[in-house]
Symmetry: none
Subunit: 401 residues, 2 copies
């Protein structure tokens, strides 16, 4: 935990290297037809062998019953209390669009919507307008100017965009304009604190100008904003743990998260093979690598059990290459479970594997949820993982005399 | 946990129904002669079969080593931190006597006692005076009037009664008059804060009048009061979780607890069969049912191992009727363990079973303490149960973007 009291007194720099592989959505649930989870179904001999020579257990991302988003899931893994350190939806959207945010900038998640002639929301997603069209509209909205801040509108997929306000004295304490259901008018942005009045006025001025700009559009003639937020001031991970951490992730959002945590984000390509190549090239330059594997979560979210099994089997093929780098500690875990049978993030405990010279093996035969329930690490909150990993890397001294 | 931050943002109303069966005192300890606990001894085929197709684990009501009363045990199950939300002894006594308390009322646990001619306590329980006698004396005490509050004296079993003060500006910050041992005089009630001076004076005036009324009684010629308390202001369960919760309990205290938590208390009869009938009649009217089963605890408290085994076997016979209602989530757990060999509530972890479409089975063969130690839910604090149950009912959205 980054908030562990006296952390600075017990962390120490060592030459040891930690490779922290986050398999997004790694936990699952049994398929009703077979009674076996995705991990239990997959042929993953390398992960199974690794499990036999590692310390294993199950971690709870936020609290029992709570299905976390990617933000809280990752924060917890890196030791940040996910109930204390919050990342707003606007910021996460910006991170996911590779939009750099500076301290003080305010970001919002935007939707193009369809408004009736009376100004009511007819469709909050503007009929999922084509990305090509919405991209052009974003270009037009970028010409909107409001006094007191610079405006940026970054296109996302289909009806989505990110609004960024840059300027002095901006506040995130502003309510959404998105009414969250159809049939009513967009809401006026309201200041939730007196200091936010300027920002609320700016947001309303932008919305007014945007609606004038979009007048005449058939589908996308309105905008809805939600989740206005600033990049939170988080204690930098490298400083707190005395590490030189680097992040390798093909997806922008995870690079953005790593950036917010103070990691060095290494440029990489769109595939996991690209990520592993990047890891190999930079392996001597850092002592901590966050390596992100997305396909397991993507298949889980799609409800595609077989595809999730394949994603795990593909990952398994990369394990020997990771071991060849001889990291002092190899961690394999996830930010949350994404059972294909739920087609969503879930609240289930997530497998955690720590492989190091100081782990021997728990007699756990396979890399599965049920097997790890009997591992030596037991059940622990995800936020406890990082100190355990530092300990196995020899990077923690004794606490107390 | 009712205090989970951001709960309001993730709870959602759905048509799914939760049946939450609290088997009072369900956990036990091995009988010295057989090495088997009450659950291990009982023939409970329906519960065993249910365990094979559910998620199972063990919950800790308050903290390791702490044996809870019924108040903290139940509060924790419904997600209220039992160290934060306290229910005073006076209030619990009133709830257990079916005495309705309004906000602002102060209740105290009363004992009839025997005083010596010198005014010292000779017997704090007045020789466990017959209920018939003490009931008549309560009737007399109800005629006592003190200026500034209405007085009610409700009879309990043997030497017990409940005193209720109703009026404006009453305080619970008043010390006990019960010295908690014999051979000394009853204590004067003292105001623990300046605002409590009026209430302390009222209490002392009542005690004086009561002693005058009881003069001449052989056994019960005095009264002792303790645990002055008001109904605590708890966040209503239905509001916090977005539920329409109902309670079905044959014993008044559990109905009272449910009332304090904001549940609708459904009238029912004195037996568990009556409770099940009530459940069947109202099953479509609520989305959460707290169903209380008392006999296991009663037998445990009596130290009657065989009777507790029988109580569990009797309960087992009702499981098919509960499943026939097709609740979306069926929970079977307890507020605390009551091992017959201890003849008391104990600190042991309590079995927790959650049955839902999203649970498959943990490979747990039986409904026992030892089997559940290997269940997929692991060990968790009782206060974490409710969010897990809501998750399985599909009533929780993702936390965080």
């Amino acid at each position: 935990m980054i908030d562990f009291p006296y952390l600075v007194g017990i962390t120490r720099r060592t030459p040891s290297r930690i490779l922290f592989l986050v398999v997004d959505g790694i936990g699952g649930m049994p398929h009703p037809a077979t009674g076996k989870s995705e991990l239990e179904t997959a042929r993953i001999p390398n992960l199974d062998r690794l499990a036999q020579h590692s310390a294993t257990g199950l971690i709870t991302p936020v609290a029992p019953g709570i299905a976390p988003g990617s933000g809280p899931g990752h924060l917890a893994l890196f030791g940040y209390d996910p109930l204390k350190y919050l990342i707003g939806r606007g910021v996460l959207e910006a991170l996911g669009s590779d939009v750099a945010l500076a301290p003080g900038d305010v970001a919002a998640r935007g939707n193009f919507c369809t408004l009736t002639p009376d100004g009511l929301v007819a469709d909050r997603r503007a009929g999922r307008v084509h990305s090509e069209t919405s991209g052009k509209l974003c270009h037009q909205l970028n010409r909107v100017s409001v006094p007191g801040a610079r405006i940026e509108v970054h296109p996302g997929k289909e009806h989505r965009f990110t609004l960024v306000l840059r300027g002095e004295g901006l506040s995130e304490e502003v309510s959404d304009t998105d009414p969250s259901h159809d049939g009513v008018a967009p809401l006026a942005a309201k200041a939730l604190t007196p200091a936010a009045q300027k920002t609320a006025a700016l947001v309303n001025a932008f919305v007014g100008a945007a609606h004038r700009t979009l007048r005449g559009q058939e589908q996308a003639n309105g905008v809805l904003l939600r989740g206005l937020s600033k990049v939170p001031a988080l204690p930098p991970m490298g400083h707190a743990y005395k590490l030189h951490p680097a992040a390798i992730a093909a997806y922008p959002m995870y690079r953005g998260l790593a950036h917010v945590l103070g990691m060095t984000v290494l440029p990489t390509g769109p595939s996991f093979q690209d990520e592993v190549d990047t890891l190999q090239q930079h392996f001597t330059s850092h002592d901590f690598f966050y390596l992100h594997y997305k396909p397991a979560d993507a298949a889980g979210e799609d409800g595609d059990f077989d595809e999730k099994v394949r994603a795990l089997e593909t990952l398994d093929g990369f394990i020997p290459a990771l071991l060849d780098l001889k990291p002092d500690v190899l961690v394999v875990t996830g930010d949350h479970a994404t059972p294909a049978v739920l087609a969503a993030h879930s609240w289930h405990p997530v497998p955690l594997l720590i492989h190091a010279a100081s782990t021997q093996g728990d007699g756990v035969p396979r890399f599965t949820e049920r097997a790890f329930a009997n591992g030596s690490l037991g059940r622990l909150p995800s936020v406890g993982t990082m100190l355990l990993v530092l300990a196995h890397a020899g990077k923690l001294s004794k606490f107390g005399p």
